[in-house]
């Protein structure tokens, strides 16, 4: 029974998992116990021989062939690249992101005059949008405060922290930079549906 503990320590020591204190106790025990010395020697021998067992050899050219096979299989999968458009990530994402983008759109457009040719297709009616949002959140002062903060930070983003509207801001408003025409059209359609429902 006593030796079982030391035999386990011998095993741990071979794995590099025996603490220094236990190691000293083990050494002292091995000096007096023939049975444990025998176990230790045999375990070391097995360990040494096991580690010398050669790794499985592979046929010549196998690694390249295996890699080519993998490439073919990967290519057969639907390419990851196809699912990368910003708004092509699925409805879960859209539901989370829609209110935030709506706020950004509302914030961005409400305070900035835009070139008529592009603005007409991109934006909801400003007053209608903000009115809808405020009517939705009017029961909650916290939400209203949070919404105001979002609006404020959106404006600051557009101003670039400079506190005044410059020509470049008008030419390159917030969402123009990151959303394609097609994506914006899609987004607005979905937002309209959300608001109607």
């Amino acid at each position: 029974m006593r030796c079982a503990k030391y035999e386990r320590w011998i095993s741990d020591r071979l794995d590099g998992a025996l603490s220094g204190e236990k190691g000293k106790k083990l050494e002292a025990h091995l000096g007096t116990c023939l049975s444990c010395r025998t176990f230790s020697r045999a375990a070391q021998r097995v360990q040494q021989e096991a580690k010398a067992i050669p790794a499985g050899s592979v046929p010549e050219g196998y690694w390249e062939e295996s890699l080519n096979r993998l490439r073919t299989k990967l290519a057969a999968l639907s390419p990851r690249a196809e699912k990368k458009p910003l708004f092509g990530l699925g409805w879960k994402w859209a539901f989370v992101a829609a209110p935030l983008i709506l706020l950004a759109v509302a914030g961005g457009i409400f305070f900035f005059p835009r070139p008529a040719a592009t603005a007409a297709d991109y934006y909801l009616n400003d007053h209608e949008t903000l009115g809808l949002i405020y009517s939705e959140i009017s029961d909650s002062p916290e939400l209203e405060r949070a919404f105001n903060q979002v609006l404020e930070s959106s404006i600051q983003d557009n101003l670039g922290g400079e506190g005044e509207v410059r020509e470049s801001h008008l030419e390159n408003p917030l969402l123009y930079r990151v959303v394609s025409d097609e994506e914006m059209a899609f987004l607005l359609e979905e937002l309209k549906k959300e608001i109607k429902s």
Partner: protein
């Protein structure tokens, strides 16, 4: 372009692969296919299974690459996939194959006289190695898994415990029990070797 890939870190390649670049993932596969293959081979012990499971591992990794958040290294992550898939594969096989092999091995060992096979010490050492390999293969998977990871792959008890989803103490205990089982099986061979050494 190829050179740029070669020089990229794993993290950069993972990011590109997550962005849809298959060549980036292929580069990662090239970096680790040998280590993954040899790890799997250590468990599976045959080329065909090791080949299949290596391919499956990389395919599974590619499919779930979006879930990789970089909390561990890419290699640790894919290594875990490889070990888990291999263990699952072996568990499926175990009922039919392993039990038959175990029975065959035991019968074989009983039929063969250790001294009669190789009287010279050198060839005895070679045979000893072969017998150790057989003894390890004959271990129940519960014990063979930590032996493969700790003894052959050089993982710590802690690392093996995380892969096998058990405690370090359990790995320590299983390693000890595995060594006892291997030694029990090897006793005739080890004794013969001792007697040769004493001459």
């Amino acid at each position: 372009m190829k050179r740029r890939m070669d020089e990229s870190s794993d993290e950069q390649l993972v990011e590109r692969a997550q962005g849809g670049r298959m060549d980036a993932f292929a580069e990662l596969a090239q970096r680790y296919q040998q280590r993954i293959y040899h790890t799997i081979f250590g468990f599976a012990k045959n080329h065909l299974d090791a080949d299949d499971l290596t391919q499956e591992t990389f395919m599974a990794a590619f499919k779930s690459l979006d879930g990789f958040r970089g909390q561990s290294s890419f290699f640790t992550w894919i290594y875990r996939i490889a070990v888990n898939r291999t263990l699952n594969h072996l568990k499926k096989q175990r009922r039919e194959k392993d039990r038959e092999e175990l029975t065959d091995n035991i019968q074989l060992a009983e039929e063969r006289g250790p001294a009669s096979r190789s009287p010279e010490l050198n060839s005895l050492a070679g045979e000893l190695r072969q017998k150790i390999e057989e003894a390890i293969e004959a271990l129940p998977l519960l014990y063979r898994a930590p032996v493969q990871l700790v003894l052959f792959q050089g993982l710590s008890h802690g690392q093996a415990a995380r892969l096998l989803r058990c405690s370090e103490n359990t790995v320590s205990w299983r390693m000890f029990k595995a060594r006892k089982m291997i030694q029990d099986r090897m006793r005739p061979y080890l004794k013969v070797e001792e007697s040769h050494e004493m001459r």
